[in-house]
Symmetry: C2
Subunit: 553 residues, 2 copies
Amino acid sequence: MSQSSLFERHKDTLERAITASRTREYWTAYPEIASPKIYGENASADGEAAFKSYLNKDFTIDQPAVTGTVGSERSPYGFDLGINYPKVDAAALISEVEAIRQDWAKASIEARTGICLEILNRINKRSFEMAFAVMHTTGQAFMMAFQAGGPHAQDRGLEAVVYAYEDMTRTPAVARWEKPQGKRDPLVMEKHFTVIPRGIGLVIGCSTFPTWNSYPGLFASLVTGNAVIVKPHPGGILPLAITVEICRDVLSEEGFNPNIVTLAADSAEAPLAKELALAPEVKLIDFTGSTTFGNWLEDNARQALVYTEKAGVNCVIIDSTDNFRGMIGNLAFTLSLYSGQMCTTPQNIFIPEGGIETEDGHKSFDEVAAALATGVEKLNGDDARASAILGAIQSKATLERIGEYGKGDNVILPSRSVPMDGFDGATIQTPLILKATDESSYTAELFGPISFVVPSKDTADSLKIVENSVKNHGAISFGIYSASDEVLDAAEDMACRVGVAISFNLTGGVYVNQTAAFSDFHATGCNPAANAALSDTAYVSNRYRVVQSRKHI
Amino acid sequence: MSQSSLFERHKDTLERAITASRTREYWTAYPEIASPKIYGENASADGEAAFKSYLNKDFTIDQPAVTGTVGSERSPYGFDLGINYPKVDAAALISEVEAIRQDWAKASIEARTGICLEILNRINKRSFEMAFAVMHTTGQAFMMAFQAGGPHAQDRGLEAVVYAYEDMTRTPAVARWEKPQGKRDPLVMEKHFTVIPRGIGLVIGCSTFPTWNSYPGLFASLVTGNAVIVKPHPGGILPLAITVEICRDVLSEEGFNPNIVTLAADSAEAPLAKELALAPEVKLIDFTGSTTFGNWLEDNARQALVYTEKAGVNCVIIDSTDNFRGMIGNLAFTLSLYSGQMCTTPQNIFIPEGGIETEDGHKSFDEVAAALATGVEKLNGDDARASAILGAIQSKATLERIGEYGKGDNVILPSRSVPMDGFDGATIQTPLILKATDESSYTAELFGPISFVVPSKDTADSLKIVENSVKNHGAISFGIYSASDEVLDAAEDMACRVGVAISFNLTGGVYVNQTAAFSDFHATGCNPAANAALSDTAYVSNRYRVVQSRKHI
């Protein structure tokens, strides 16, 4: 299929996505419902079979600089994946990619956009396979792995394509410039404007959202003409290996060298990220992970533009509510979903020490804290339902942290292990809720299902603490419950000063830790949790430059 | 006047500028012709009188943190300006600005845009006054000082406003988000999106183009809600002091604290740039000047986004021509204009050692070099005309460099001093042309009217040398003369690989060192000469972020 016909084939999707990103109304390109009517009668069974076909085998990719194999992924549901990926020599890989990347750099904007949209479309068709791959690397429950690892991640990839396409095409390819010269003939020039990429983009994945957090950077760099090297977290390679394979398939079919997109799988023992990140040819880096490594990249990979999402400490303030039951229900689900292993899960919940007003009258601090504990406990009371919400704990470090913090005398709700049928070794834990003792106990990020209820003097005090917390420790989400418009206005003012998204009075089916592509921005890019937002113009517009030529005609 | 009516008043200019920046066709908001019909019968006399009224006096600005006065500008036309500007305590100034900047941050996009357009409009009305101020700080000849320091600079400021306005308004202020829930009621939310600035923007001016190189950063930061501190070069304060005064007037009239824009004049003996640049509140820095200080800013002001235009070595390749006379005439003017004190003036002119083909047959290397020398000599043969083209040499360092390099045995055209009626002390010099001896002689930037003719093996060799030169030493402009489409295509390919704008066969009234706002990008942002282009989306879109709120309705 010719490159321009791929563009034509997906043009409607592109245009609808542009409109959605400009209106911020509800829209999605890739259905989040894991339904056979949408994805095909056998999609689920086929997806599971495809996933199983990878286990205990080599995942072969015909790419350069391969020196052996690497891989030691273990499903948080209790088994080793046993998949061996190509192990690469980083310097050799970069040099090979640098040598072949010009054809892609020179492809038209429409050709590159069409190919990226085709890749996303094919990834979408394999959403069930991806769901199993995401589930058994991240520990996400199946339904979440399907949605967040599949359609929602695909939507976030499409968003990056949309922003880049719009900004690249803002400048015309050719212009006629005619400057009047009074009575003399005008000066007339023909000008050509060529979008040129930066070079090689490096995408460094994380273990909890390997696709969702990688697709924006992958597609933003790719559609703007850069070659992309994908370096997955050693614990979450498979979803990105499948992604890379699909990218390479489409590139090859369209006549490009597939090495425009390559995989650089590594292990915790022999990590590749630093060597890749410091290569002079790497001009763009997208990273999701720890603050330590994110800061290291920003400080050391100075030859590259570095886009980071790092740790943060998300907060909720409870001031008052006219829907106490709805609030508790909403927060209980928020804290439980994927066992708090989301960069948007709240950690600290501030409640005035004197209690709050509700539609049922006054409730003391202890009553609010107890209601929250009971809410979380009841939500996860049934093991089958609990495991479908909680998923499994991805890392040993998180498991150990739950154990350690559960030993204190400030436990309001202990964490319990949840058994799961068919998965004996699954590491499933309910949320641990603690009462904060002093500020030092809750200001660092405790990744996973650990949260604090924090007594404040009053809501003004809560707002002040949260403002400092966002400024110093970063945050991606922030929720507030109040029946007072004045309090909500003050909170929004604070959120704007300090740069964090704010959700008011969530008591229904929208949760503070969830964002919707095309409507909600993920992170703001101006507090320590992230230096960029997913996605906006700033995220894409510096990944390419424009070179112009001019001549008289 | 209400803020929204300023927006309405200038809306047509805004819309026409948006269209121009998208079509890249010829358009200008501010007429470059210094005509009484456009600027008023007495504009020239009034402008000169206004300029003279500043001399040997205090230039008072009622801004905070003033500790005394500073100022030692000297006109390159031979007299001291004798103007004393407020001297500020950098830390105190920053703390005062930080304390008052929120009202501007919270103003609507329309209010800020209207005010920026009004400021530009008022600056435009004072173009004659500005021309004298620019002439007697930079040494530009009057007509160039009028055009480049006035309307062209204003156009570049407007360009930044346009890009920022378009990108800020890409996201709506309010959106209704309605997600279907099958048979249940849809989830419905109201979302607010607020543009928030980064903080304080610092604009560090240069001595040769104090307005042209500062307006893009000044207006890009200002329109996106940041407060701006303007730190002029000690040799070029007046044009920016006038600019700051106009900004403050309009801000005050519109009910804002004028300290949103302040001046931080300093001296070579007690420079303020480093202290200002390292302040945590300074989140944006725009700099034009030396590579050394630009690199220092990039390496040290890590709390800020740093936009730099540094030194470069611009090149011209002569391969062949069918208009030898036009080529020589064009290059002679290019080398002479403002005595090569433009960041876009070519320094190295590559000619095959075996000579070139022309419409008059073959010409040897020496013949081409001699024709160029003769062309420059003749153009500047008449003293009055010469001074109107050359202007005066801005800095002692440039004068000394001309002297030093003029002593070698590789001089093809010596530089001569040009007397100017009425300005006895004017430092006017014609261009010095040298023959390159080895690569080390011409690869560093020799700012000012010094250029090399460089013998290459052939045009392929020229292209190779230029490619490496741009990669290693940076360049803002690149010109090539060739009658062969194949050569031009190869040159454009090279320019795209290495990221430099290219001009083909300029033989008429367009010069490689000139760019037209709304049509030509100034610099590409991807070679060592500059990390940003004036202006594109990347230049503005990270100066603000978006904070969103959402609630159920």
